[in-house]
Amino acid sequence: MMPGVLLGAGLAILVGIFLLLTRAFAGPTPFDRILATNAMGTKTVIFVALLGFISGRPEFLDTALAYAIINFVSTIAILKFIEFRRIG
């Protein structure tokens, strides 16, 4: 029974990712797109963690942890570029 529940949760997260993707495409300002992409990254972390438990191999959690770190750093880097027009 448990894999079915995890699979349903993964499908719900995918629906959320799709809704955020429509906002990332439609967003009038660049900040809307950054916000939607950041939220998509958080949901991707959830999905990767769920995927590890669906396939019965929790080693996927290392990938989820790395994805969380990359998501935060890339968001801050893009915002810093918009604010100061340079990365360094």
């Binding site: 448990m2 906002r23 969380a68 915002l79």
Partner: protein, 113 residues
């Protein structure tokens, strides 16, 4: 013990998925960038923590590697709980510095003029 854990997992996953989908729906439906920060920033971190808590109860199914998986889950939850508000605040600050005007109702702005 595992049946109780399974019930807890189902509960936490259901609440977390509800928050995740409604938060995404709010990002699509809200009229303005600043109001979109509200569903995107708050529901995201809470949904992740709830779903991670639900997965935490499943770690006892994996005898050898369950402990390491539990530690990694707690690390992910703690990291996202710290960084998601920081990212949301940084996006709002960048939008404010770029001069994005908050949205008002049409007749309300006329009344202020």
């Amino acid at each position: 013990m595992q049946p109780i854990f399974d019930v807890l997992t189902v509960f936490f996953l259901a609440v977390g998925c509800l928050l995740a989908v409604t938060g995404a729906l709010g990002v699509v439906r809200m009229p303005d960038f600043y109001s979109r920060l509200h569903p995107a920033g708050k529901t995201d971190s809470l949904a992740l923590v709830l779903i991670i808590t639900g997965l935490l109860f499943q770690c006892s199914r994996y005898p050898g590697i369950g402990m390491g998986a539990a530690i990694r889950l707690v690390l992910i939850a703690g990291f996202v709980f710290l960084t998601s508000p920081v990212a949301t605040h940084a996006i709002a600050k960048a939008a404010m510095l770029a001069g994005l005007e908050p949205w008002r109702k049409a007749d309300e702005s006329h009344a202020q003029l």
